[in-house]
């Protein structure tokens, strides 16, 4: 397998979304190609960092504001 094909497949590897055939070919390539291996590791770090970005906070008064904005007490299913 060539570097270009491997680099195309790397995003799928991060998700463990690949066929057995692809896995074997990519793994064999990564063992021998340092450039692709570094790329693979960098993509793993990117996903890890993306997923560790803390969420923005919501004001503690938000829920009450939504509840106050609901229409007057009529169940939404009622015509």
């Amino acid at each position: 397998m060539h570097c270009r094909k491997v680099l195309e497949l790397l995003p799928k590897f991060i998700e463990n979304d690949f066929s057995e055939e692809e896995r074997a070919a990519v793994e064999a390539h990564l063992k021998e190609c340092e450039e692709c291996r570094l790329e693979f590791e960098a993509m793993g770090r990117l996903v890890d960092t993306l997923e560790s970005i803390p969420p923005i906070g919501v004001p503690s008064s938000f829920k009450e504001a939504v509840m106050r904005a609901l229409p007057a007490k009529k169940p939404p299913g009622e015509k």
Binding site: L46, V47, E51, S52, P55, V58, K63, K73, G77, E78
Partner: protein, 194 residues
């Protein structure tokens, strides 16, 4: 009333309670989804106050249409689909320029720190991480919106590919291809920091 007991009810059970006339039970739904929805919308519109307003509107829309929710489906998917449609409609109306994150302070001028939740790092780690995260966040913001939405749903809101396809109305294959492509774009843009 939204009791402690209701907190362990499934979404579908809580909705049944609301539809049966207990409006206050809707607070459980708001509590469960406010943070996820606000984050999703914030990363789409890139304006904190606006994202909170839109999040509130999404909850009001969901409430108004609660009786049309089909419990054969996952409630979170239904709710995120409302959020996706509402946010994209809003962005189309605004014809939002691709501008940097805007977070006005109370006076309407300058900026303030985003109220990010702490992950318990030391001040030094926190600063380095903040810088790195800031760069990554900017790179995400710069993605075309059709790619950005998927990255947000996947990596900030942890939605499955199947859910993402239902939320966006895109075929599963397109969702996968776009998210893979989006990651490649991010890698390109972050070459100097990785």
């Amino acid at each position: 009333m939204a009791s402690v007991q209701q907190k362990i009810l499934t979404d579908t059970e809580v909705i049944r309670t609301v539809l049966d006339g207990d409006q206050e039970a809707f607070a459980v739904i708001v509590e469960r989804y406010q943070k996820g929805l606000a984050n999703y919308i914030f990363h789409m519109v890139r304006h904190y106050e606006e994202s909170l307003e839109l999040t509130q509107e999404v909850f009001l829309k969901a409430y108004a249409n609660l009786s049309s929710f089909d419990s054969a489906y996952k409630f979170s998917t239904w709710l995120y689909k409302i959020a996706s449609n509402h946010t994209i409609d809003h962005m189309r109306k605004q014809r939002a320029p691709e501008s940097p994150i805007e977070v006005p302070d109370d006076e309407g001028g300058g900026t303030y720190e985003l109220p990010l939740e702490s992950h318990g790092q030391s001040p030094h780690e926190s600063l380095a991480m903040k810088d790195m995260m800031g760069r990554i966040r900017e790179a995400v913001e710069e993605l075309p919106s059709s790619y950005r939405e998927l990255v947000i749903l996947r990596h900030f809101n942890f939605r499955s590919y199947e859910e993402m396809a239902k939320i966006t109305g895109l075929p599963l294959g397109t969702v996968k291809n776009r998210i893979f492509r989006a990651r490649q774009m991010l890698m390109e843009r972050l070459k100097d920091v990785r």
